[in-house]
């Protein structure tokens, strides 16, 4: 019994070391910018860099837009598939998984071929077009996470009865989705949203190939040109991601009502 216990602790410790050691090393390295003492010098430089503020701001804004687009796209789709076309579910699920299977580089090359300046729809030729393309691209990348979390959320409520109750009270589709369905899957939508945020903020391939100055390319540029700052940047990015995860937990814990018993 105790022997078994010991071994499980050993396995956990091994796994923990595997994940934590590189992190600890990175944090340690990022604080050694000043010779002979620990300091936050690298962090100060990074945070004060106008490039950092600008690219991070851009990426966060784009992430928020991606989330809105994702919600508008995924919630009605997942809802109608569950309500009216349950036979289509495996197909839709497969489609939403494609972005995990097809490498981003392939997707973005496809975009560039289809939407280049000599095509029918020359999106890459303008600032607006490029940003729009990036937004759509990110919405695609976020699809697997968004769809899965929304679909899980829909499973916890009786959407057929709620829909019929709302209909008998005179509500149309838009109101049903906005007032009845969305608020009840809000927690699930949020978890999808935070994952989207994490993905978009660190994304490199799309941004680099579409030549957009977002946070991903900035991190890569830093990595190629500085010594201590990239580590500090990585820690900051990590902190943002973990903060997102924490937010998911907090929001889930403190939502006013709950459809699932806690």
């Amino acid at each position: 019994m105790t022997g078994k216990r010991l071994w499980s602790w050993f396995a956990v410790a091994l796994g923990g070391l595997y994940f934590l050691l590189p992190l600890a090393g990175m944090v340690d390295f990022s604080m050694r910018m000043k010779r002979g003492e620990y300091s936050f010098e690298a962090y100060r430089i990074v945070l004060a860099d106008p490039q950092f503020q600008q690219t991070l701001g851009y990426s966060v804004l784009l992430a928020l837009l991606t989330i809105v687009l994702g919600i508008l796209l995924v919630v009605p789709t997942a809802y109608f598939v569950r309500l009216r076309l349950p036979g289509l579910r495996p197909i839709i699920e497969f489609i939403t998984l494609l972005p995990l299977v097809i490498p981003p580089i392939v997707i973005v090359f496809g975009y560039i071929r289809i939407y280049n300046t000599s095509s029918v729809l020359p999106l890459t030729g303008t600032w607006w077009g490029t940003n729009l393309l990036l937004l759509f691209g990110y919405a695609t990348l976020a699809l697997p996470y968004m769809y899965r979390s929304v679909d899980t959320g829909l499973r916890t409520i009786d959407i057929a009865s709620l829909t019929e109750a709302a209909q008998s009270l005179g509500a149309g589709w838009a109101r049903i989705l906005a007032v009845v369905i969305l608020p009840n899957v809000f927690v699930s939508v949020l978890s999808g949203a935070f994952l989207t945020l994490a993905i978009v903020i660190g994304e490199y391939v799309f941004a680099a190939l579409l030549n957009v100055n977002s946070f991903g390319p900035y991190m890569v540029w830093m990595g190629g040109n500085r010594a201590y700052e990239p580590s500090a940047l990585a820690v900051v990015a990590f902190a943002i991601t973990w903060a997102c995860m924490g937010l998911i937990q907090i929001v889930t814990r403190f939502s006013r009502f709950s459809t699932v018993r806690r």
Binding site: A166, L169, G170
Partner: protein, 352 residues
């Protein structure tokens, strides 16, 4: 023409005909129950009235308007579901006010009406709670209030009490009836519980395999069942085999005893028919006015509290009879020979 008019309604799912030629007129303010076994199509008819299913054939009219093709959200129908279906993200007040908000009423008007309806269902102090903070019975009352708040033309309830425990089921059904009468709202109530249907309805529709077997008041349904199915489904029933002696004058033979029913029978002499008999119309021993006397032996005794159900073996058949409990007289023991008496007018001849 009736207020709610269901005319030759049919519904098929694929090749499966679930509702076959269902016709019914319901007067304004009437409380009608659909009673029938599981799968007979009660919910399907109700959902067609609500607009959630499209009839394969037939029409539905409310007032003077043909609503057959009208979408559910424009029918002005209040619906109460078995599983409550309250909106989990809205408070009781917001749930009740939902329909009024959709109708575009002002804040003050909504608040007034919500208060009124909350008063009606007796939950005035729980307005700011969320559904998950309510008991099942309270949730179902809120669902009723929500359906009633926008003053619907028709109220539909699909087994609203099945998820509740026995005590609440009885008190809530009486409350539903009281509110229905107070508001004078035309109501269809679906149930497979015959006691529920008998106790609160103006009329009952007994459904069987997609058709209305019989439509009538609870008294008629119980005492004059039109078909054998209705007779067996509603209440407990004894079926007694009888041999026809003379069809025109209605003379038959039950075992060794000749019985004159004094009614013409649709059968030939020598044919065997079934006579039906409610347990409360059979008495133990000879009783004045019950002139058909059969002798047998006590087979089983079930003490149910106020009522004692006794099963008596008569010839090759077993008759159930109900007697009231009498504290000073214990029920007879199994195996004791007894006589039972029946009034010939209580013997029902039911069509197959």
């Amino acid at each position: 023409m009736a207020y709610l008019d269901i005319h030759h309604l049919q519904k098929s799912f694929g090749a499966h005909r679930v509702v076959k030629d269902f016709t019914l007129g319901i007067e304004k303010g009437e409380f009608v129950s659909f009673l029938g076994p599981s799968g007979c199509g009660k919910t399907t008819v109700l959902r067609m009235v609500a607009g959630f299913e499209t009839p394969t054939l037939g029409t539905i009219r409310i007032g003077d308007r043909d609503v057959t093709g009208l979408p559910a959200n424009r029918r002005k129908i209040g619906m109460v579901f078995q599983a409550y279906a309250l909106f989990p993200n809205l408070t009781v007040e917001e749930n009740i006010g939902f329909g009024l908000k959709v109708a575009g009423e002002g804040k003050a008007a909504i608040a007034r009406r919500v208060g009124e309806v909350l008063e009606l269902i007796g939950l005035a102090q729980l307005g700011s709670r969320y559904p998950f903070q309510l008991s099942g019975g309270q949730q179902q009352r809120v669902a009723l209030a929500r359906a009633l708040a926008p003053r619907p033309q028709v109220l539909l309830l699909d087994e609203p009490l099945s998820a509740l425990d026995a005590k609440i089921r009885v008190s809530l059904r009486e409350e539903i009836r009281r509110i229905q009468q107070e508001l004078g709202i035309t109501t269809i109530f679906v149930t497979h519980d015959q006691e529920e249907a008998l106790s609160i309805s103006d009329r009952i529709v007994v459904m069987h395999q997609g058709i209305a077997d019989q439509v009538g008041t609870p008294f008629e349904i119980y005492n004059r069942p039109a078909t054998r199915f209705v007779a067996e489904f509603v209440g407990t029933l004894n079926l007694v085999d009888a041999d026809v002696v003379d069809a025109a004058s209605g003379r038959v033979r039950v075992g060794e005893v000749a019985v004159a029913l004094n009614r013409p029978l649709v059968a030939r002499a020598g044919e065997r028919i079934s006579l039906a008999l409610r347990p409360e119309t059979v008495s133990l021993g000879r009783t004045e006015g019950r002139d058909v006397v059969l002798s047998g032996r006590i087979a089983e005794v079930h003490f149910l509290g106020s009522v004692i159900r006794i099963r008596v073996a008569v010839g090759g058949q077993v008759l159930s009879l109900d007697t009231f409990n009498q504290p000073d007289r214990p029920p007879p023991a199994v195996g004791v020979p007894v006589e039972v008496s029946i009034a010939r007018s209580d013997l029902l001849v039911v069509a197959a």
